[in-house]
């Protein structure tokens, strides 16, 4: 699918918010199901080699969105690299857990379940659930359940990224920006002649 088609299909305007809501709903449900203090989704920004908070439920919600960390930081970085889900019950002694990064968020968890967000062969980010009730013992079924949530979150994250790329291509100096501007003007002004010209251009380009 071309970027323009993707943009149109995703209904670019507002899609970002819709996809973000889907992601937020996923972490809210994950937090509720596990009775955890917090749940969050990190997106991997491959260009910057950083992990970005995209959705947070519970502790830290609101303040953390958009916060960035080096992609090798903490449990999330480890899970992203190995592709393996992991549960750590005593984060105070886990070197993969970056205390510095956690303290900067104003919330230092004691336990963490983390699972990679995979779409096809790409690792898009990490879903993590922090501080389940202290008395709850880990069950393998919980990790499987987290994996199912991760699938859902990965799809939402994929849609969000696609919509962003499409919007970037259509906005400002993007590759398809002029096309988007033309389409917008035609739509606003309802210029029949202009639309007819566009159809003619389409026929010329398609060789028919």
């Amino acid at each position: 699918m071309s970027e323009l088609e993707a943009a149109v299909a995703a209904g670019v305007l507002g899609a970002d918010e819709a996809h973000r809501s889907l992601l937020q709903a996923t972490v809210e449900v994950a937090r509720a199901i596990f009775g955890a203090k917090a749940a969050s989704v990190f997106l991997l920004d491959a260009d910057a080699d950083e992990l970005v908070f995209e959705a947070v439920a519970g502790e830290g919600a609101g303040a953390l969105i958009g916060r960035r960390f080096p992609s090798g930081t903490g449990v999330a970085g480890w899970v992203l690299t190995t592709g393996q889900p992991l549960v750590i019950d005593d984060l105070t002694s886990d070197t993969r857990f970056s205390r510095e990064a956690a303290e900067s968020t104003g919330y230092v968890p004691k336990s963490m379940m983390a699972v990679p967000l995979l779409v096809e062969e790409r690792a898009l980010g990490v879903l993590s659930v922090l501080d389940r009730p202290p008395e709850s013992r880990v069950k393998l079924a919980e990790i499987d359940l987290l994996g199912l949530f991760a699938n859902q979150a990965a799809i939402a994250l994929d849609l969000l990224q696609r919509a962003r790329h499409a919007r970037q291509a259509l906005a400002g100096e993007g590759r398809l920006a002029s096309l988007a501007r033309v389409a917008a003007r035609l739509e606003e002004a309802e210029q029949d002649a202009g639309l007819e010209f566009l159809r003619a251009l389409d026929r010329v380009l398609s060789g028919s």
Binding site: P70, S71, G72, G77, W78, L80, T81, T82, G83, Q84, P85, L86, V87, I88, D89, D90, S93, D94, T95, R96, V115, P116, L118, E120, E121, R122, A123, R137, V138, K139, L140, I143, D144, G147, A150, N151
Partner: protein, 283 residues
């Protein structure tokens, strides 16, 4: 066909047949070790401490002098040289994350006298990449380790063909690859190859309890829940994951191979099956 087989074996009448089996060679393919009618755990690894078995941990490195790991025979790392080429060189970094040390500690606890080697394929910021994993695996196979523990996987399909070739090479050279399965519905490798032993987790507390899965691709389940893991700084940590079920099976394989070094990966897998808890292995 017959003529070529004869020619192939003229050079050495005692050489084992490789590509075909002429009648006169039948007497020469005696199997070094035959499985008894009933393969018990006692037969498989009774009395074994792992002495003589060589185990490679392909991971984030192993911390030197960790009390739960003990002596590490050799530590190497896959690094990218200034010329851009990957190479294997002696490593003094120890463990960059704790993950490899945890795996080594599990193997050591089960098989106290194994010889451990660390191949570090992950960098300080975890940026190992699939290339380093492939390079490290190829090196480990060339070294002829009895057991290679891989609590790592890749989802990148561009590596599948080379990984598959390496897994088969290991199988035919009698290096058994013990690999972590994904407990998520994703395509990842090398655990899905039939030439390796793939491991998922069960919830029981006995480190020697394992199960055979009659519905692969995950073939065996080892202990993987709430484990006391060797970690950095001589410390321990409580963790859960298939990453840690895998070295349990690796340790058991090391015990078996120390006692029966002639076993091929095919025979070893059969022994594992017959000693699995759900196949009467508690006898």
């Amino acid at each position: 066909m017959v003529a070529s087989a004869v020619v192939a074996h003229e050079s050495d009448a005692h050489e084992l047949p490789a590509w075909s089996l002429p009648t006169e060679a039948v007497g020469r393919i005696g199997v070094p070790v035959t499985l008894p009618g009933e393969v018990t755990r006692e037969w498989a690894w009774g009395g074994s401490t792992g002495a003589g078995a060589r185990v490679c941990i392909l991971d984030s490195g192993i911390e030197l002098d960790h009390p739960l790991v003990g002596h590490v025979e050799r530590s190497v790392a896959v690094i990218r040289g200034e010329d851009g080429e990957l190479r294997v060189s002696e490593d003094r970094e120890g463990d960059v994350s704790g993950h490899g040390t945890a795996c080594a500690g599990i193997v050591r606890a089960l098989a106290p006298d194994v010889e451990l080697t660390s191949v570090r394929v992950l960098g300080a910021n975890y940026k190992g990449g699939g290339e380093a994993m492939l390079h490290g695996l190829a090196w480990a196979i060339d070294q002829g380790f009895d057991v290679v523990n891989m609590s790592l996987s890749t989802t990148r399909t561009k590596y599948v063909e080379r990984l598959h070739e390496l897994a088969d090479r290991a199988y035919f050279r009698r290096s058994v690859l013990i690999t972590s399965a994904h407990n998520m519905p994703v395509e990842s490798f090398p655990w899905k190859f039939s030439s390796v032993i793939s491991v998922g987790s069960h919830e029981e507390a006995d480190p020697l309890t394992f199960y055979y899965n009659p519905s692969p691709p995950v073939e065996f389940f080892g202990r993987g829940l709430e484990l006391e893991l060797a970690w950095l700084g001589g410390a321990t940590l409580r963790g859960t994951g298939n990453s840690f079920a895998t070295p349990h099976i690796a340790g058991i394989c090391a015990l078996i191979l120390a006692k029966h070094p002639e076993l091929t990966p095919f025979q070893l897998k059969s022994v594992l099956y017959q000693t699995a808890a759900n196949a009467g292995g508690d006898a």
